[in-house]
């Protein structure tokens, strides 16, 4: 059981180092509180967003925390490949430049998997291959409007 945990952990950690490094001008890794006995402790991150000093997760800014978490999610997804991915407003806390970075990463991942992302942010919408518009009809039912092709 410990073996299974550690091999999964190592794989996701290695994904995280790559993905987090690409999303931010910095680097980071996963950290086990109790490496000897993982189940006795928790899992946290040691990250250097934009090459800053390491700080506890709760001392980081909202956007920095969100980027770490998103990189963690992407690391798990890379470990368990699926034919399609759905992302609902994952760019909420990010500034425009970080949204672009996420859109860029999704774009390259989407060469091998189908990605459907819901977003209200311009850089995400602009990074996609196509846009599906969703609005409300006067009778309050959902209207899905034509698919716009991007770029």
């Amino acid at each position: 059981k410990r073996e299974a945990f550690l091999s999964t952990y190592t794989a996701i950690d290695s994904n995280f180092k790559d993905i987090y490094g690409r999303l931010t001008r910095g680097w980071g890794k996963l950290v086990l509180e109790m490496p000897e006995d993982p189940f006795a402790g928790g899992l946290t991150f040691e990250v250097h967003p934009q090459d800053k000093d390491v700080r506890r997760l709760n001392m980081m800014s909202g956007g920095e925390k969100s980027l770490v978490t998103l990189a963690f999610i992407f690391s798990i997804q890379r470990h368990m490949p699926a034919p399609f991915y759905g992302l609902d407003e994952v760019d909420m806390h990010l500034d425009g430049s970080n949204v672009e970075g996420i859109a860029h990463m999704i774009r390259s991942l989407s060469e091998t998997s189908q990605f459907i992302a819901i977003s209200l942010r311009k850089p995400m919408i602009q990074g996609a291959d196509r846009i599906i518009g969703v609005t409300i009809r006067p009778d309050k039912s959902t209207l899905v409007t034509g698919v716009k092709c991007n770029a």
Binding site: A82, I132, R137
Partner: protein, 154 residues
């Protein structure tokens, strides 16, 4: 493999039968608050049977039936690029509901659908669908809960 078509009928805010063709690559869905974007993702989760009613922001499955129309059923079809078409239908009854699952038009058990999906890497405890608020939830977790995420995957 990828999803080629979504057909949403009387599910949540989809009062009128709606067809959404989907392609490979990177598709973005956008529009005003409350228009039905998250409901599209909910319809996929509902059809594939990989979340409970609570995961679809409903207290019971019958909440998923559109309240604007007077019909008592809601139906979602998900078609894949390998030709498979998965359907799920709920029907409100006097004292509850019925839930029907179909593989390529033939009635089946929910387990059959889950088995098909598992063969293609789609599992209920997977992270291929990130719902609105999941990032904030994982961000605010204790270190212990976060490690448990790895436990479940291993």
């Amino acid at each position: 493999m990828h999803i080629t078509l979504l057909e949403i009928d009387n599910f949540k805010s989809f009062g009128r039968k709606t067809k959404i063709p989907l392609e490979t690559g990177f598709t973005v869905i956008s529009g005003p608050n409350g228009s039905g974007k998250s409901n599209i993702l909910d319809s996929i989760l509902f059809a594939l049977g990989i979340t409970s009613a609570r995961g679809l922001r409903a207290e019971r499955l019958t909440d998923l039936i559109n309240t604007g129309s007077n019909k008592n059923t809601a139906e979602v079809h998900v078609s894949f690029s390998d030709g498979t078409r998965i359907t799920r239908r709920i029907k409100r009854t006097a004292n509850g509901y019925y839930s029907y699952n179909y593989l390529n038009g033939r009635l089946c058990k929910q387990g059959d659908v889950l088995a098909f999906l598992a063969n293609h890497g789609i599992k209920p405890q997977g992270y291929n669908i990130v719902m609105q608020g999941d990032v904030a939830r994982i961000m605010e977790m204790s270190d212990f809960e976060r490690r448990k995420i790895i436990d479940e995957i291993a």
